[in-house]
Amino acid sequence: MATKHSRSAARLMMAPAVILLLGWMLVPLIMTLIFSFKQYLPLRGGDLGWVGFDNYVRFVSSSAFWPSVVATLTIVGGVLLITVIIGVLLAILLNQPMWGQGVVRILVIAPFFVMPTVSALVWKNMFMDPVNGLFAHLWRFFGAEPIAWLSEASLPSIVLIVSWQWLPFATLILLTAIQSLDGEQLEAAEMDGAPPLKRFGYITLPHLSRAITIVVLIQTIFLLAIFAEIFVTTGGAFGTRTLTYLIFQRVLESQNVGLGSAGGVYAIILANIVAIFLMRIVGKNLDA
């Protein structure tokens, strides 16, 4: 759909973005790969030579590894479950006729724009503090013993904080998807005698399935990488050390770069597995 002239101009104009991203992807990736095969301790002797797959084996066999996988899966799974289920319900609610819909939308979306460090700190101190937090006040009001949330129920607490941050995203996308549902389809189903619950099950939910898949995939990629929320709340203690956080600790805190890099490669592979599914969907959409 164009001439030779415009095609060569197009290539030229695409070059900066492509070259930059290529560099951004390849250079650190190759470095991480190289480090992962080395004994590399910047503070204790630096580059101590090649060690083959040692780091990969050690990363997986360390006592911290499996708990970190469990913590990661718990957080990702918990947040997905909460945000998708509540998100669907909320999207349906927000799609109903009401007064002040625009304002409610804004209220619901707001948490997404809150800096992760802020939301983590606010939740940690003002809500979950075992002495002065609002939850503690609430528990005492009902005569219960306040809970030290972030140490006694650390994973659920993190799940709650992160869900609060991501619920707006899920709701907004699902709401957009619901609004794109053809009202005549629902009316046709109603004419065909389908009661509301059946209409939801047979028409609304299938219509939402694609949006739900996208929410799940995109959130998974972001959730696998959550960092600040753990950094400022528990610092990885009380069983909240996720894979990401474990790698961070190996690399920057204990400065065992080789080991951390091996972990990084695992993280990259994990993210790519999810990414492939996401790209399939996005790619299909490009063809349409």
Partner: protein, 334 residues
């Protein structure tokens, strides 16, 4: 001046050749219409002439000089697009001025031409509006205005009326024809509507699958279509094409008779059939006749009204001197 000559032009998209080698000359001042069913390559051909697409092989000459590798802006052609392609963020005045601004024409001259075009096109009151505030017909006129002020060697129209409603289309058709009468500039007009082609063209180019089926004046095409395709495509309602015994009787594989060249009687005639649907337009009546044993359906057109209802028996008599004959290859037999 605006003579355009295509010399062995081809166009391929990847491995698919959409236009096989094609020769065509469009004379200076001629109103030429490319017509054909959708996907026949008529728009592609226009875009090749405009320079919006590269031709794969061959040459394009404009006014005797080779324009094959000349970029669109330098070909001296103006184009009116199907979607009008007005710049939505500019006022009508700025839209019309844009090509002149790009050409570096001084402002007094720009204003003079804008005023002239606006007057000719009835746009004077709308010069300060945005395209979004105009009706479809007005937008169309702005697009034409933008083309006129460049004083191009030729105008290219890409299905310019297809986004307008039926009533407006007839009006704009007249306006474009009048514009051509006044400017006497070469115009190439692409359409899939054979009525537009018949009413506007000096010369019609009928295309199918990138191949020119016939070139000629509207009446040439009507009276002596070169093949079955042109015969079926030009004229409304369509020509009845009949093959089989009836055709062989006339020494042809297929015979064609236009609906308006068939006499109708309720009592006797050459062919007998049953009335399916009779469409009464007042001035004319179209009768779709079944069970003639000739073809699935034969359409006839008679002037005025006739009392024919669904299920009536009807007799048709073709006017033999208006009969078209085609051979096994679908080519006309003289």
């Amino acid at each position: 001046m605006g003579q355009i000559k295509l010399n062995q032009v081809t166009k391929s998209f990847g491995d698919v050749q959409v236009i096989p080698p094609l020769d065509l000359t469009i004379g200076d001042g001629e109103f030429t219409v490319f017509v054909g069913p959708s996907g026949c390559g008529k728009s592609t051909l226009l875009r090749l002439i405009a320079g919006l697409e590269d031709i794969t092989t061959g040459h394009i000459e404009i006014d005797g000089s080779d324009a094959t590798d000349v970029p669109p802006a330098k070909r001296g052609l103006a184009m009116v697009f199907q979607s009008y392609a007005l710049y939505p963020h500019m006022s009508v005045r700025k839209n019309i001025a844009f090509p002149m601004k790009m050409a570096g024409i001084d402002e007094d001259e720009q204003n003079r031409r804008i005023e002239g075009a606006a007057k000719a096109l009835n746009l004077t009151d709308y010069l300060d509006r945005r395209p979004g505030q105009l009706s479809g017909g007005q937008r169309q006129r702005v697009a034409i205005g933008r083309a006129i002020v460049r004083e191009p060697a030729a105008f290219l129209f890409d299905e310019p009326l297809s986004n307008l409603d039926a009533a407006l289309r007839v009006g704009m058709r007249l306006e474009i024809s009048e514009l051509h009468e006044r400017l006497k500039t070469t115009m190439i007009y692409v359409t899939h509507d054979q009525v537009e082609a018949m009413t506007m063209a000096d010369k019609i180019v009928v295309l199918r699958a990138g191949v020119i089926e016939q070139v000629g004046s509207p009446l040439e095409l009507y009276h002596s279509p070169r093949n079955e395709f042109v015969a079926g495509f030009i004229g409304s309602p369509k020509m009845n094409l009949i093959s089989g015994a009836e055709a062989e009787k006339n020494g042809a594989t297929t015979i064609g008779i236009r609906p308006e060249h068939t006499d109708v009687s309720m009592t006797d005639g050459v062919w007998k059939g049953v009335v399916g649907v009779a469409e009464h337009l007042g001035s004319d009546t179209f009768i779709h006749v079944h069970d003639t044993g000739l073809a699935d359906m034969v359409t006839v057109r008679i002037t005025g009204d006739i009392q024919a209802k669904h299920g009536d028996t009807i007799y048709l008599t073709p006017q033999m001197d208006k009969l078209h004959k085609f051979d096994a290859q679908g080519l006309r037999i003289e």
